[in-house]
């Protein structure tokens, strides 16, 4: 079931996107329209997904057992993955609002204190040093443009 899920998801994606492509118009061989190429890609993806699903269905339960490197959904791993994703999304969402320096500090502190569980003082200190260093490197030296945010930097 675990190996069955990815091709099933791909099949769902290919059906949905194939339907959208069909609505865009396929045209003909002599005059292909915008939906032509994506539609046939979706058809290929659907066929590959069905092949993978039937192959996994034929496998014995022993073959299905995940190896250590393959296992995803242990609670601890899943929590960590979600935390990293949440932290990264937070960085994207806060950037325009609170500016580069403050967002970087919040993001670093989130990573070191919440995800990595560093001691409070050490976590805050290295977050402050890292965000100041990132500000100097990217904003001052490399001249990369970031939003200034509410605090003005």
């Amino acid at each position: 079931m675990r190996k069955f899920a990815p091709p099933a998801a791909l099949l769902a994606v290919s059906i949905l996107m194939g339907w959208f492509a069909h609505r865009l118009g396929l045209g003909s061989i002599t005059r292909p329209e915008p939906g032509f190429f994506p539609f046939w890609i979706c058809a290929g993806l659907a066929a590959t997904s069905v092949y993978l699903m039937t192959r996994h269905l034929r496998q014995s339960p022993e073959d299905e057992a995940p190896t250590e490197s393959e296992s995803v959904f242990t609670l601890d791993r899943f929590r960590r993955v979600l935390s990293v994703m949440a932290g990264t999304a937070l960085f994207g969402l806060l950037l325009e609002f609170s500016g580069f320096l403050a967002t970087t500090f919040i993001f670093m502190a989130f990573c070191w204190l919440v995800i990595d569980r560093q001691p409070l003082f050490r976590g805050l200190l290295i977050s402050a040093v890292a965000s100041a260093a990132a500000f100097v490197l990217f904003v001052k030296l490399l001249n990369v443009h970031f939003p200034r945010g509410l605090l003005g930097f």
Partner: protein, 502 residues
Amino acid sequence: MGDLFANLYFGFSVSLAPYNLLACFMGVFVGTAIGVLPGLGPVATMSLLLPITIKMEPTAAIIIMAGVFYGAMYGGSTTSILLNLPGEASSVVTTLDGYQMARQGRAGPALAICAWGSFIAGTLGVLGITLMAPALAEMAVKIGPPELVALLCLSFLLVIQFSGGSRPRAAASALLGFLLSTVGLDPVESTPRYDFGTFTLMDGVGFAPLVIGLFGISEVLINLEKSEKMEVFKGRIKGLWPTRQDWRDSAPAIGRGSIVGFFMGILPGMGTIVPPFLSYSLERRISKRPEKFGTGVIEGVAGPEAANNSATAGSMIPLLTLGIAPSAAVAVLTAAFLTHGVQPGPLLITEHPAIFWGVVTSMYTGNALLLLLNLPLVGMWARLLTVPYRYLWPLILLFCGIGAYSVSNNPVDVLLMAVFGLLGYMMRKMNYPGAPLVLAFVLGRLFEEKVRQSLVISRGSYETFIAHPLALLAWIASAILLLYPFFLRGKRTPHFPAEEEE
């Protein structure tokens, strides 16, 4: 020949200009550092540098990116030898004999022969580009849309075949990449596709968020699961000059590795992973002492290291002459060219000679700089390995976020990067290779444009795709590639790690 020397002179006058020389040094320095550090590969690093290099001169930007690519091959061997942990997937084979040499107190000669082998092979590979690329580019100018479609098809099949793991999964990954490349305005009629009413998606999925997510974020997630307990080689590294016997044993292996690596590197899908494996098997097969391989023989280090370095040079040939990226890392280089408004391919030499010859000659300089960086400073690189990963990963994530944001100053790209990071993590967990997805994504629009152009020009006749002998040859090769697994069913086929595997 006179032309060649004149072009080389012109190239060196470009690449040795202080700004470009500094770019070359920065590239190889960063390349070595990320090669040494397990946890961030050249593909992710080059994607991170992509937005930072936007404001640079195109020549300097490409020089720095290329420097990271081949510099990582040098650095990857240091961890293989001192840690028994490959810094890059291309250095997996080096662990077999390199680490054994370190355990026997011969870490110095192992590191030295890696650096010298890499330098010799890298330089020979660049010489190969210098001699072959102009002639191939001249031939490639005559290639029309139908032939390009056939060649691209062959490239995709090669990538699927050799990307490591199951072929159907690699095919699914490539098809997903194709599908992602169709998001945005259609290349012929400019009709919006899959934009769901958003301006961000009307421009298409950004290359930087996709690659940084797939390779950078997913690598952090995978590394966070690994144990931090690494056994770093503690002894003093001495004897950094190989003995005469070491040279006698290694020189033929370096020569063979350089040739194998260069020609395998040209083929799409081979990347820098397969050539070291082939070089190692070749050395073992022709050795007078095959039973000693795996116990610390120097040929087992010299051959593969030479192969992965000359493969980086070989993989530049399809990019510089046809505009086709044969590996994920070269796909990022393609994006760097396109970001600067330069189309890599057959017209690159004539339209942008300063970029072409500047980048090619910078690789000679870069290889020499890498030798200087890797031999005397090996102790410094070894110390870098002692930095705990828990201090590095938040910084890597921050660089990923900055990289994704700064291409188009759009915070939505950071969110997209997070989504692709999760996708990349799941793909790696489920053994779906990421390289076919990236290659299909990069070349997908070109493929679609050429298919539609061919069909329109030929008024829907499929015969146009086989009318040219080159196209016919590419289709025959594609058919063989598609059918031969059915004939090999039941027989053992070698397994190579996927390009982004550590």
